[in-house]
């Protein structure tokens, strides 16, 4: 895993984990106790107006989609607070800015003292919404599929001629950057490119766009695929892009860091672990309301790992149920093989690598050094 990147705001960890700052949970977990996740990654809807070619949400359709009402979302946060969840990120399998619950959810999380963050294409993150939510957010990561308008429109929408979606996103990102500066907000703003093998030519334009926008970072990550290879990602092709990726990193400035998630890119489709402990620390919830240990299991195919739906019962009851712990124990048992039974490089990958090394005695986790890195509650 890569070292933290030093930014104007502090030390930024994007290509590793922050478990060392949550040793209370690590120790309890290792002792066999039932722990609350440190962090939850979720969406307020399965809906999205984009059609990104790299989108893992295409593989995450469950049996049914429940409509997440604002009351459900706010109750969920109350339950998070009650059981001790420290952060929530609105990423997962939908575009949360489309949900009527979006602004109330972020404000309520902040009121409860739960760190809250968001990944978005920014198309519907209007200046009004930016002003409503930005003061309460720890970070916002804008999905920017490519650095040039036509390629962006081709990857994220209907075709290269639809560049209006690029223009709209850039207008909103610029507004967020300006609003942050003007109000001296602590929020970290970044853009992210999901690198597919056919996007080699977009690496440098993307990095340059990040610098030109003045966001805090521009990150490039691998593309996940499911265990059946539905997206057809050829992981052997990433190596041919290393030179461009290094060149992109060299474009970093004092204000904008260009970061490559080397660990995930180099790990490709072969995780070094067999068991999957990460969801106990970093749980995912679908925009359909489905609670499953990881987004890797949202699809109906993985129904045996579906635990409940928080629009039908309170999350705190789901977390306390035997169902929840049976699913988590299954993933930690030999009945589950992370190398063949789930997609590549889940959101819990870094955490799981660390827990696997910890258990095997290769690299025992120990309390993290001060000062704490940025976004410490987001694993």
């Amino acid at each position: 895993m890569s070292q933290p990147v030093q930014t104007n705001q502090g030390s930024l960890i994007l290509d590793s984990h922050k478990l060392s700052y949550h040793m209370d949970r690590v120790n309890s977990w290792e002792a066999g106790e039932r722990i609350a996740p440190v962090s939850v990654d979720m969406s307020l809807t399965r809906g999205c107006g984009a059609m990104c070619s790299f989108c893992y949400a295409m593989m995450q359709e469950s049996q049914s989609r429940s409509s997440v009402k604002t009351a459900h979302a706010l109750n969920l946060l109350d339950d998070f607070k009650e059981i001790g969840i420290r952060s929530v990120s609105l990423v997962s399998d939908g575009e949360s800015t489309l949900s009527p619950a979006y602004v109330p959810f972020i404000k309520h999380a902040a009121e409860l003292g739960i760190d809250v963050a968001n990944a978005t294409n920014a198309w519907e993150l209007t200046p009004e919404k930016i002003e409503d939510v930005l003061p309460h957010l720890t970070w916002v990561r804008f999905t920017v599929g490519a650095g040039t308008p036509s390629r962006y429109a081709e990857i994220m929408y209907k075709g290269p001629e639809h560049t209006k979606v690029f223009d709209r996103a850039i207008e909103h990102i610029k507004y967020a950057v300006e609003y942050k500066k003007k109000n001296n907000l602590a929020v970290t703003l970044g853009i992210q490119m999901v690198l597919m093998p056919d996007l080699k030519d977009e690496i440098i334009p993307f990095a340059q766009l990040g610098v030109d926008l003045g966001v805090d970072y521009a990150v490039i990550k691998h593309c996940s695929d499911d265990e059946q290879g539905s997206l057809g990602i050829d992981y052997t092709q990433y190596e041919s892009m290393y030179e461009d990726l290094e060149r992109a990193e060299s474009l970093s400035t004092d204000n904008t860091k260009v970061i490559v998630k080397w660990s995930k890119i180099k790990d490709g489709d072969a995780p070094p672990y067999k068991r999957f402990y990460g969801p106990q620390f970093l749980l995912q919830i679908s925009g359909s309301g489905l609670v499953a240990p990881s987004g890797m299991f949202f699809n109906a195919r993985h129904s045996k790992l579906h635990i409940g739906n928080y629009t039908e019962e309170r999350f705190k009851d789901i977390w306390k149920s035997e169902r929840y712990w049976r699913a988590m124990d299954y993933l930690a048992s030999p009945y589950f093989d992370a190398q063949t039974m789930m997609g590549t490089l889940p959101i819990q990958h870094y955490v799981n690598v660390a827990l696997n090394e910890h258990l095997r005695g290769e690299r025992r986790l120990k309390a993290g050094m001060e000062p704490k890195p940025l976004h410490v509650n987001f694993l």
Binding site: A300, D329, R360
Partner: protein, 114 residues
Amino acid sequence: MTKAKFIAWVDTDSPSPSVGWLERSIEERENGIRQILATKPEFSEHIDLSAVTNSGEVLVEIVTPMKASERGKLLLDVEEYLKEAIDQGLTVWLKAIGDKNSLRRLRGIKIGKI
């Protein structure tokens, strides 16, 4: 789960289907699973067998509407029962569902191979 179990299982290989299972024809495997499921009405009332594969995957369909809070438990119970009764290498799955997002469907991605 205890610390001892965590450590004991960290590198344990997952069970593979036995030679005896692999030597059976597809028809024999499917009949064997159907017979075993039929002995448990709490399973057979809710699920149908769709297919079996050489890697031990048992593909089933849920025939009665079921909440997320019910289907996970049922399917883990079924898998546990099949492992005990037939072969430790069997795993239970449902047929994958494709994306319902009409825009993203235009990408033409086909989900799952079985």
